[in-house]
Symmetry: C3
């Protein structure tokens, strides 16, 4: 019988922790990327932040429409919508005792899709590359969620 504990003693949980850690770090790194681009381009959302631009002798006022910053922010929000729900569902899914090899396959497909989704988004790769990566990740997370609901219904 499959181990279902949420602990590193459970090999499947350990693998889940690895892939979750990777996609969470990727998501967090969008915050850093936003901050770096706000400073580099002197594009700030708040009046008090403009002092940073003024210290660099630039004339800045709050702006919410810079294409580079807004693209990173859309990518970040897409991560929040998809990565966060994946990790939440994954915790429930691992504790439901899934088939380990199916589970690890799901984790790998999701992680691969989300890493390539960021490459496609920030690199402005022609569609449907980003749409496919988005759909792949979402499909895996949905399959996991439906499996959780099904198993929890009995």
């Amino acid at each position: 019988m499959a181990d279902t504990g949420l602990s590193f003693d459970n090999p499947l949980f350990k693998q889940f922790a690895f892939y979750s850690g990777v996609v969470i770090v990727k998501t967090m790194s969008m915050s850093v990327l936003t901050a770096l681009n706000r400073i580099r381009k002197s594009v700030f959302a708040n009046p008090e932040d403009c002092a940073i631009g003024k210290a660099m002798n630039r004339d800045v006022k709050p702006t919410l429409t810079d294409p580079t910053v807004e693209r990173i922010r859309r990518c970040h929000l897409n991560d929040l919508e998809n990565v966060v729900t994946f990790v939440l569902v994954g915790l429930l899914y691992v504790s439901s005792g899934p088939d380990p090899s199916t589970a690890v396959t799901y984790f790998r497909i999701f992680t691969g899709c989300r890493l390539l989704h960021t490459v496609a988004y920030l690199g402005q790769v022609p569609q449907p590359s980003r749409a496919l990566m988005f759909g792949g990740g979402l499909t895996v997370a949905m399959l996991m969620a439906v499996d959780v609901i099904r198993k929890a219904s009995f």
Copy 2:
């Protein structure tokens, strides 16, 4: 004594997994709804996405102000703000050993409120219907969070 394990062996956790699964699937489905409406109305946020509209012989340019798409996106963001915090708090709450019947009542009220919140938001049902559903869900999640803090303080 109540079982406090985060595992399907714990009947309360299993119920929590069921209701969490339902509200997470509902949240994820907003992504699908946004994508479908972006394609149907040819409303895209990124220049490279407009190729999808052009393939359908429509003249499109990036737009961030379509009322239908923006309404779905506000509903989605409201889910992220409320559903994600509920599931996080719920994991801590279940592991704190709450009274099972109180806990299941909370899970059911939250799930009902959030499903009706979406109906009210997308159906543009007159207020205060949506406000009441929002407030009901938030109140339950707050009660659970305060219970976690209180029990974890000793």
Copy 3:
């Protein structure tokens, strides 16, 4: 050996639950603050919400640009980006069996940074106060995430 269970029987998990509860309640309270300010200033995002303002004999139409409400919303989104990822990483981190005193130090720094971040954001405290609090919280969460990935890789 350190206890790694996600249960209140594990003293480290109990501490994690406490600090997570605090930052989640703080995040949820931004929803309340947004709602109160929308009503106080009659600033609503949806046409059907404007009935609330009209009931107070005010002439209102949907607006998405009120500086007070948008500032609270930016603060809320920043919480979602940072607090949610912290709690997710923290669950994985606690189950990886970290050094308890290091772990509690991380939890305390993160919680302190996020509470002060909100004070700085809503109080419009001159920079770099908010940037430092943001960076402190993100650094702690990143250190925890890297530790999870490292331990899960073996």
